[in-house]
């Protein structure tokens, strides 16, 4: 072989013949290389022993992996805390943790209790604080109270906004002129409230067309809700310096309170390949179902890790994520999702809302073929999983052996 000096063609042929995955074969070659070559017989024995070990570590056919996975996730649930608010790495942002978060995930809620995003940056945005802040300001929803003082003059029926010059310069780092920013703000107000504004420098004034005390107060209320810059759903952004897992370099990472995944990805400076949200539906919408599956796995794993239960094997989480995304969209686990859409009437009736399922089944003339587990428990038949899935056919060995001598090779049987 080209890469390996000491792996002869005979050895390679013997190793390649074994029923083991590539990664293990490569490790065998590495070992042989390290030992500066072995005899083909030894290589074969090594490969055989590895194969035996490998086959031993594989899941047994007919293993009820579903139930095992469900138990492996459900059982640690009893050890989790109910405390909703706790800190996830970033002390500044509260995130739902523990059992409530786990329930939220398998429920596939449309919006999580505490939406948040982890936004990674690319290029100089990740290394320079100034540039990172540019991204922050284009994400964080900026409301009027953050920009200056608002005062209501009842006598003149005007609302006066005294914009803070420094804040403007900070939040609009790409614009050099305060006037431009103030003008922009004034225009936003005009568009949003439908009033005329008067501006002198950084002071913006406006009032109701006809003098009305109520209208004036209403305008102030409305003014507070206007988003001048950034994304409405993102209420707060926290910037942190972290070590990049892959490169080991330091970089700036943004954590947001509130989530608007689709709006954040196109922002300049955002590294869309690493940025994530804890809203699995947003990920599904923007990146597709495979990404959503990955997000479910990561989110559940993080939830477990936060509780010190990260010894749960990822494979269990993968199975849960896979069944939730199996139909190409996110289905919840429970009555409104997977359990409610089962083929079997009896299985659905045995889970929840028993009577309605039976009545509907009657109307639609459904037929239960008794394939699943729960149905067969109900009717008292063996279930087709594990040892119940094996059919043992008994017959004379001699008779079938006679038949087979005629044929050159034994025919594979039908089952």
């Amino acid at each position: 072989m080209t890469e390996y000096e000491h792996v002869t063609e005979d050895v390679e042929a013997l190793v390649e013949d074994r029923d083991i995955p590539r990664r293990l074969k490569l490790r065998i070659y590495d070992t042989i290389e390290e030992r500066e070559g072995v005899s083909p017989a030894q290589a074969d024995e090594i490969a055989q022993a590895v194969e035996a070990r490998y086959l031993d570590t594989r899941v047994d056919p007919l293993d009820p992996v579903g139930t095992v996975s469900a138990q492996s996730i459900g059982e640690p649930g009893t050890q989790m805390t109910m405390n909703t608010f706790h800190y996830a790495g970033v002390a500044e942002i509260d995130v739902t943790q523990g059992l409530p978060r786990l329930i939220e995930l398998v429920d596939a809620r449309k919006t999580p209790d505490t939406p948040m995003m982890t936004v990674y940056l690319e290029g100089e945005y990740a290394t320079e604080r100034e540039r990172a802040h540019e991204v922050v300001w284009s994400m964080e929803a900026t409301k009027i109270l953050a920009l200056g003082d608002v005062s209501t003059n009842v006598a003149d029926m005007v609302v006066q906004i005294d914009l803070n010059e420094d804040t403007l310069m900070e939040r609009w780092p790409t614009v050099d002129n305060v006037d431009t920013v103030a003008q922009e703000i004034a225009e936003t107000i005009e568009d949003a409230l439908g009033v005329k504004t008067r501006r002198s420098g950084t002071v913006v004034e406006f009032g109701p067309e006809a003098p009305s005390y109520r209208r004036l107060l209403q305008l102030v209320e409305e003014l507070r809700d206007i988003v001048f810059k950034g994304i409405e759903d993102i209420t707060r952004v926290v910037i942190r310096k972290e070590e990049n897992d892959e490169t080991g370099d330091e970089e700036f990472v943004l954590y947001t309170e509130g989530s608007a995944f689709g709006d954040v990805l196109p922002i300049e400076g955002v590294d869309a390949s690493r940025t994530t949200s804890n809203n699995i539906h947003e990920i599904h919408r923007n990146l597709g179902i495979e990404a959503a599956r990955e997000a479910i796995i990561n989110e559940t794993m993080n939830t477990l890790r936060e509780q010190g239960l990260d010894d749960v094997n990822v494979r269990h989480l993968m199975l849960v994520a896979d069944i939730m995304t199996n139909r190409g969209e996110i289905e919840s686990i429970g009555r409104h999702g997977i359990s409610g859409s089962k083929d079997s009437v009896l299985a659905r009736a045995a889970f929840e809302v028993t009577v309605n399922h039976l009545l509907d089944a009657a109307i639609h003339g459904e037929e239960d073929d008794l394939d699943g587990v729960i149905e067969n428990v109900i009717v008292g038949k063996p279930i087709a999983i594990g040892t119940g899935d094996v059919d043992l056919r008994m017959g004379s060995i001699e008779a079938s052996a006679d038949d087979e001598t005629d044929a050159a090779a034994p025919e594979p049987s039908d089952d």
Partner: protein, 976 residues
């Protein structure tokens, strides 16, 4: 009708009233059950043709006796049709979407076609078709006129639960007044001068004369005229006319709906006709489904369903009589409604808006729906969860002399639980002996079965006689004996290790006995826990239990892929004492330590004491339990590196990380690399050795073990005092308004966080001070270090300072306005006013501290209570959703209908049982290569096995089979 042998499929559908009558055993007309002599009344609710419940009687329909007769349905001919409550929504939908004249669906043929296609498509995709149905109904409802016959359609109003009205907009009676008032000028608005009749005539295009007629109420403006007037005056001239639809009307209406049209609405015409949703005949459930109970005083108590049926028949009878007598319509309607009510509550007694039918005592009746619903209902309570025979439950207690595969079964339980023994020539004598011992003696027998199928009870009187009759081909139900396999379970059964198979050891007294090492998988302790045992009844079940379910097969947990069974608590303290510092033992001591294990010879002594006597070390003795070729290196929880070379513990302390449950390295390696049997033997022997060791050294804990010297106490007080000072400083800064808030936090939050931080530090330093004053021999320290029980935090709280009490993750802030207790000033931010406990448990808490501590403790209790129910439901949902998934021979994961969920389990097909979560795969290629190259195999057989050409020997019992088991050390014990 014949009972099927095996159910192939179950069809659901509605039943034709004619079929009801056909299958009915009798018509029921009498609202009474039994006559004065206690005999069931003919054509009454307990008619003997409906089945038998009293033993000894014969069924008048099928001729079989109680127990073998399932019962037979009867029927009640309803005087007038009534609506089935379960289908009220569907009835409403049908009324709204079909024509009142011709019964056709109010959709054009093309639309129908489209919805039908949509329906089949969603069904093929296995998706929910209710959305398609709803949009079809919505579309049909829009039609004002029937697209087929052109008849105008009216809106349907549904008054829950079972009343329907046809709503028509008709001209209001006071139309002229309404028009006139609309023409009056608006008093508030000066600009409005009202409208003159002539203007109105101009605007609407109605002649002035006609307008005047309308205004005087002589002419009724209908149709276009009305609409024009309404538009011009901006007034509503209609009122709703409600026409009640009687169930008989609805039934007639539905009869006209053609089969093709209901398919569009998702109804299968082969199984259900819409008119069948209106009941004309009511089936009477067989008496077996509503047995009456005879109370102690001889009074009969009837089932809830019977009570309800009595009501129905009574009203039905009255209805018929009244109608025949020609009673006024009003009375008939009232009775009709009453009949509807009774039939409704017969089906479902929890309909909202309807008062539930009650028993005389005021308890709501449990009718049909209530029988099916919920946790104790038919589905979840009786069909998914079944009651079984051959089960036992009692308190558990520990017995370290048992193997982990065994369970001590009280003799009394063993005498009840039996195993069927097929008598052959080979076991004839034993079988006879069992029968001879009778039901009271242990190992005896309770029943015998002759080849002709007759079962005989073995009694004290007939046992001798019966024993002689026993021959091959008989069956003997003998008592449980040592070595039988049983299933053992502790609830809640959260994972598969909650149900495991054990081998029986029959014992005196009344508790189940367990080896303490199986406590972690069951999550059991001995503070009064009870467990269940099930004796297996078929050979297949026993074989499966032995091969798959025995405790030793469950040593590795599939959750994290490491051992869940291993040494716990005192075992760990024991091995710690034995190996930490490597103490010396004399020959007698060494032999005493090993005497509970299978090791019967001592190794070469490690050296000689000064006086010339040989000594053995703790590590040496521990090494005796290890396989000779074990090589391992890891770091222990005590903190030192453990090195095992060629089966000898060279250095390091054996503690939780080595032999403990939940991933003890040695146990884990033995289970994965060697065999389950080897690891079972190891765990048993480690436990025995550790118990001997801990007894050798002596181990106890008392209150004095947590006390620290006076100077240490002073240091702790100092540390706490300085923390108080720092907190005071923070408060002063805060009150001066100079506290800088952390990003994203308010100043108040920042202050709280900083105070919490300071107080946390105070407790930690108190802990450190306390820790410095504990010796390494302190039993609490030994337990915490070795991982046996407790933590350094526990010790800190006992000896140093309990620390901050928290509710909802914050300092305690609740109570009175501005303060936690009336002992403090308002707005006191100090540590002690918000639940900081500066004393230690050993020193004792002040009353106020105690109160705060109780607050924190209460939160914990509430948390646990809430959590168990929430996580229980989560678990149930997860299992229900995933229960059908199974790994296939091709490595894919599919559900029982064949849908592929994963192409390879966990992306690489690796079993979570055999590979722990933190490693990639469990294969050490280097090590394998080493072994092959060095070729250090003692025999060809071993090498064959290593290469996987030969299966390792299987062990099926503690008593038999290859491997290290009881068979090696003792004779196979005789069965009696």
């Amino acid at each position: 009708m014949q009972t099927p042998k095996e159910i192939g499929a179950i069809q659901f559908g509605l039943m034709d009233p004619e079929t009801y009558r056909d299958m009915s055993a009798t018509k029921v007309i009498t609202a009474d059950t039994y006559d004065d002599d206690g005999y069931p009344i003919d054509m009454g609710l307990m008619d003997p043709r409906l089945g038998v419940i009293d033993p000894g009687l014969q069924c008048r329909t099928c001729g079989s006796h109680s127990g073998s007769c399932n019962g037979h349905f009867g029927h009640i001919e309803l005087a007038a049709p009534v609506i089935h409550v379960g289908f009220t929504k569907l009835i409403r939908r049908l009324l709204r979407s079909t024509c009142r004249e011709c019964g056709r669906l109010s959709l054009t043929d093309e639309e129908s076609e489209e919805f039908r296609d949509g329906l089949t498509r969603t069904e093929e995709l296995g998706e929910d078709w209710t959305d398609v149905l709803k949009s079809a109904v919505r579309q049909a409802r829009k039609a004002n006129n029937c697209p087929h016959c052109g008849a105008p359609q009216h809106d349907i109003k549904h008054e829950k639960p079972t009343t329907y009205y046809e709503v028509q907009d008709v001209l209001a009676g006071d139309y002229s007044e309404r028009i006139a008032s609309a023409m009056q000028p608006d008093e508030d608005d000066e600009d409005d001068a009202g409208m003159a009749p002539s203007t109105l005539a101009d605007q609407t295009g109605i002649e002035l004369q006609r307008v005047n007629q309308i205004l005087s109420g002589e002419f009724r403006p209908v149709g276009d005229d009305r609409k024009k007037l309404e538009k011009a005056l901006d007034v509503d001239l209609t009122e709703e006319d409600m026409n009640k639809l009687m169930p008989s009307d609805i039934r007639d209406w539905f009869e006209d709906i053609p089969n093709e049209d209901i398919v569009t609405l998702g109804i299968d015409p082969n199984r259900a006709r819409p008119e069948w949703m209106i009941l004309t005949v009511l089936p009477v459930p067989p008496v077996t489904a509503r047995p009456s109970i005879t109370l102690d005083n001889g009074q009969r108590s009837e089932d809830d369903l019977t009570h309800k049926l009595v009501d129905i028949i009574r009203i039905n009878q009255r209805f018929m009589e009244n109608r025949e007598a020609g009673a006024p319509q009003l009375i008939i309607e009232d009775l009709w409604e009453l009949l509807q009510y009774h039939v409704t509550t017969f089906i479902d007694n929890e309909i909202s808006g309807t008062p539930p039918a009650r028993h005389r005592s005021g308890r709501p009746l449990k009718t049909l729906s209530q029988r099916l619903k919920g946790k104790e209902g038919r589905f979840r309570g009786s069909l998914s969860g079944k009651r079984v025979n051959f089960s036992a439950r009692t308190v558990i207690s520990p017995d370290p002399t048992l193997s982990l595969n065994e369970v001590g079964v009280p003799e009394r339980v063993a005498r009840e639980m039996t195993q069927t023994m097929n008598v052959t020539e080979r076991n004839l004598e034993r079988a006879q002996q069992y029968v001879r011992n009778g039901p009271e003696g242990h190992p005896g027998a309770n029943y015998v079965k002759r080849p002709d199928g007759r079962r005989l009870k073995v009694t004290e009187k007939n046992c001798e006689e019966l024993a002689d009759k026993v021959e091959p081909a008989w069956e003997v139900n003998r008592h449980l004996i040592d070595g039988d396999i049983v299933i053992f379970n502790r609830q809640p059964s959260l994972h598969r290790m909650s149900i495991m198979a054990h081998e029986v050891v029959v014992m005196p007294y009344k508790t189940f006995r367990l080896n303490t090492v199986v406590c972690p998988p069951y999550n059991a302790d001995f503070d009064g826990d009870e467990m269940n045992m099930h004796a297996l009844q078929t050979e297949e079940a026993r074989a499966e239990a032995r091969v798959l379910m025995r405790v030793q097969e469950q040593i590795l947990s599939p959750r994290f892929g490491q051992n869940i069974i291993g040494a716990i608590q005192d075992h760990i303290s024991g091995t710690y004492l034995l190996t930490n510092g490597n103490p010396h033992f004399s020959e007698t001591q060494a032999l005493d330590l090993l005497r509970a294990t299978s090791i019967d010879t001592l190794p070469e002594p490690a050296g000689e004491e000064e006086d010339g006597r040989p000594y053995w070390t703790g590590r040496q003795l521990f090494s005796e339990l290890l396989p000779d070729d074990l090589n391992l290196e890891f770091s222990s929880s005590t903190g030192d590196d453990v090195v095992i070379r060629d089966g000898q513990l060279v250095e390091g302390t054996i503690d939780e990380d080595a032999v403990g449950a939940f991933g003890g390295e040695v146990v884990d390696t033995l289970a994965k690399v060697y065999s389950k049997t080897r690891s079972r033997v190891f765990i048993n022997e480690v436990a025995s050795l550790a118990m001997r060791a801990i007894m050798h050294f002596g181990f106890s804990i008392g209150i004095d073990d947590e006390s620290i010297p006076e100077e240490a106490n002073e240091q702790v007080d100092e540390a706490i005092q300085s923390a108080y000072d720092r907190v005071q400083e923070l408060i002063e800064i805060y009150e001066a308004g100079e506290l800088e808030s952390l990003p994203g936090r308010t100043v108040d939050e920042t202050l709280e966080m900083k105070i919490m931080q300071q107080l946390g530090k105070a407790r930690d330093s108190a802990g450190e001070i306390a820790d410095d004053h504990f010796t390494d021999e302190n039993p609490a320290v030994v337990m915490a270090r070795s991982g046996a029980r407790g933590s350094m935090l526990n010790l800190t709280q006992m000896a140093g300072c309990v620390g901050q009490q928290a509710v909802r993750g914050e300092r305690i802030n609740r109570g009175y306005e501005g303060r936690t207790l009336s002992h403090y000033q308002r707005e006191d931010l100090s540590a002690e006013a918000h639940g900081f406990v500066e004393n230690s448990y050993r020193g004792g808490l002040t009353p106020r501290e105690f109160f705060f501590h109780a607050m924190g403790g209460r939160e914990g209790l509430v948390d646990t209570a809430v959590r168990t129910s929430k996580s229980g439901y989560l678990q149930r949902r997860l299992i229900n959703a995933l229960s059908e998934l199974e790994a296939q021979y091709d490595g894919t994961v599919r559900d029982t209908s064949g849908t592929i969920v994963q192409f390879e389990f966990g992306e690489d097909g690796t079993s979570p049982v055999k590979v722990s979560s933190n490693e990639k795969d469990g294969i050490d290629v280097e090590n394998i290569a080493d072994r092959v190259m060095d070729a250090e195999f003692t025999s060809d057989e071993e090498k064959e096995r290593f290469l996987g050409r030969r299966e390792p020997p299987t062990n099926l019992s503690e008593y038999a089979g290859p491997g290290l088991d009881k068979a090696q050390s003792t004779e196979v014990e005789s069965d009696d």
